[in-house]
């Protein structure tokens, strides 16, 4: 019988479409912030302390055995203009007007350090179909496994900070990004950039302590001298400190909540958007996509149900004398 089935079909089609429509709104319901991994380590970068010496860049290249980037035939200097397959960590300079006052937005200059943010809810980890990017359950470092990677570059699309870079010039290309020197951990060493920093601008340590330190700095009075720890905090011996004049901080810790929080925190005296750090919501974009997938699929329950319905419909048609045109 045609008519009842037609109605049935219309209903199920309409329902399916409605689902797809409603699905998105249903997905927005769940948004719990991901917790810090138990032994989460990270970096606190303070742009007001950074003097642009780029020792962190040198140290990174040596520690990770990365080639230099230059247009010069004599390869005199390493001059990357952005993160790339050869550069895991870069210092960039903000300049406005005559660029004379440090950490001032107008007629000033400032430095910013760019590297992988080691997000708490990494978009790259969610995106990768073969789990080539993984977040360590203990220390939270997001690492890359070239033996799993198929080179689809979805992680590059997904990362809100545009961090993963690709070895376009290679016949066996890999994704390249900072991995917080996790290959040095077993030697008892830590992030090379923090080891090299002479002013304390790059500080390594357990996340809770770094967040506390960042908050402490935001409470300091600008213009007075204060002590800042060097290289690393959170070890048995107290860190060496250095004395700096406190700068005028933007009252915001970048990375505390952006896209669910990152393990690479930033402080600055110039607004972060001017330093190239995007304005991001508190929830990773991946959550929305994940939510929709969940709503539409509910595991594989809906697809299987739909498959069943389709088989039923086609067989009904077959049995009702309408031959399947075999092909």
């Amino acid at each position: 019988m045609k008519i009842p089935r037609r109605d049935f079909l219309k209903l199920s089609a309409g329902g399916g479409l409605l689902l797809a429509t409603v699905g998105p709104t249903a997905a927005l319901a769940s948004t719990e912030k991901k917790a810090l991994p138990p032994e989460a380590v990270g970096i606190l970068y303070d742009s007001t302390l950074c003097v642009g010496c780029q020792a962190c860049m040198s140290a990174c290249k040596v520690a990770n055995k990365m080639p230099i980037e230059t247009d010069d035939t004599y390869k005199r200097s390493d001059t990357p203009q952005d993160l790339s397959a050869k550069t895991l960590n870069i210092i960039k300079r903000y300049q406005d007007g005559n660029g004379t006052a440090k950490d001032q937005e107008k007629d000033g200059y400032a430095f910013i350090k760019r590297q992988c943010m080691h997000c708490l809810d990494p978009s790259c980890v969610s995106a990768c179909p073969v789990s080539a990017l993984r977040k360590d359950a203990k220390n939270g470092i997001v690492s890359y496994n070239k033996d799993a990677c198929i080179g689809c570059r979805y992680c590059q699309i997904a990362c809100p900070f545009n961090i993963p870079k690709f070895q376009w010039e290679s016949t066996t290309p890999e994704i390249v990004k900072c991995q917080l020197c996790n290959h040095l951990l077993k030697e008892g060493k830590y992030a090379a950039c923090c080891t090299a920093c002479p002013t304390g601008a790059s500080l390594y340590g357990p996340m809770e302590m770094l967040i506390a330190e960042a908050k402490r700095r935001l409470r300091l009075e600008p213009g007075v001298y204060a002590d800042f720890p060097l290289n690393r905090i959170g070890t048995d011996s107290p860190p060496r400190t250095t004395s700096h004049k406190v700068g005028q901080y933007i009252q915001h810790i970048y990375g505390e909540n952006e896209v669910g929080g990152t393990q690479n925190l930033m402080l600055a005296g110039v607004s972060f958007s001017k330093l190239g750090l995007p304005d991001l919501p508190d929830e990773a974009f991946v959550r929305l996509a994940d939510g929709i997938q969940y709503a539409i699929y509910k595991g594989m329950a809906y697809p299987l149900a739909l498959l069943g319905a389709l088989i039923y419909m086609i067989r009904k048609g077959e049995n009702n004398g309408e031959q399947i045109d075999k092909g």
Partner: protein
Amino acid sequence: MEQKHPLGGRVLNGPFVFFLALVALGAYFTVQRFTYGLGAVTNMNDGYPWGIWIALDVVVGTALACGGYSMALLAYAFNRGEYHPLVRPALLTSLFGYSLAGVSVIIDIGRYWQAYNIILPWHSNLHSVMFEVALCIGTYCLVVWIEFAPAVLEKLKAERLLKRLNRVLLVFIALGILLPTMHQSSLGTMMLMAGYKLSPLWRTAFLPLLFLLTALIIGFAVVMYESLYSSVAFRLPKETPVLSKLATVTFWCLLLFMVIRIEDVNLRGVLPLAFDGSFVSNMFLLENSFLLGGLFLLMYPGNRKCPKLLFLAATCLLIGGGLYRFNTYITGFDPGNGWQYFPSAGELCITFAIVAVEILGYLWCVKRLPIFSAHTPQTTSV
């Protein structure tokens, strides 16, 4: 039900050789790509890691190959017997479209020798949209080959195999409807992950639905386009009546799409962005102009009975729908920091070659396999 037979006639003719030349050109660049790496042949970069191989060959290409999906949906799920003659040619296009989308992927991904990692359970990331898309498309490729197998078996006169196949064909047809529903919508979900990098003119939670609808619309349109084009090319009788019916279905789907699309853009308050004169907004206007053009053409029942206007409408929908998907992946994508992308000659040649293979395959198959259910095949011009 009408008997199907090969069209016969010479395969190796002018157009065939032209497409062979395109294939040869593309083959040259493909060898370059594998010998020297992606950077040597393409303009893809860290800002735009996906170029036309993904945006055109896969995203638009699989939509163009959704003829098999859309016709199976109508002919089998909704049991519209009148669409049966259109199924096999549509499946043929789907076959080549999806298989070659797969080839495009292998050419595009950097570590292709590890592509099988995607099916290894210890690597699988069930949270990844791309994982679902890859598996779905891969499975659907197989399904389409099986759906198409009866045509081959008929030619080979393998009666026994044909009988055996027919018993299980039902499941594959059902899969052939389920799988594209899943992955075509997921192709939309994929770009949701881009977050702020995707222009508000395309970024919406309705992306999965809109991609599914364009897959259907393009699927219908490509069937109309091919049917009419083949009619004049191979001097076959036109299938206008069934195409008119198809056009009606297409119209309603398209209307639904346009309503959701425009209202969504409007409700999110970003419609003014479409008129700021930038390249991105102009592409938005272009895409919707084609779609609206097609919509208005198909609105009138009289138009739907006219083959010329059907063809024009189909062309508009193919271009508009294709542009919609292309814009979502490339035009509307801006990672910031001054990155730019335009396909290189190598990328374009490889894409042309892929399309050429599809056309060559189509030409050979319609002439040597029982695809068309035409009355009297006449001398072909293509």
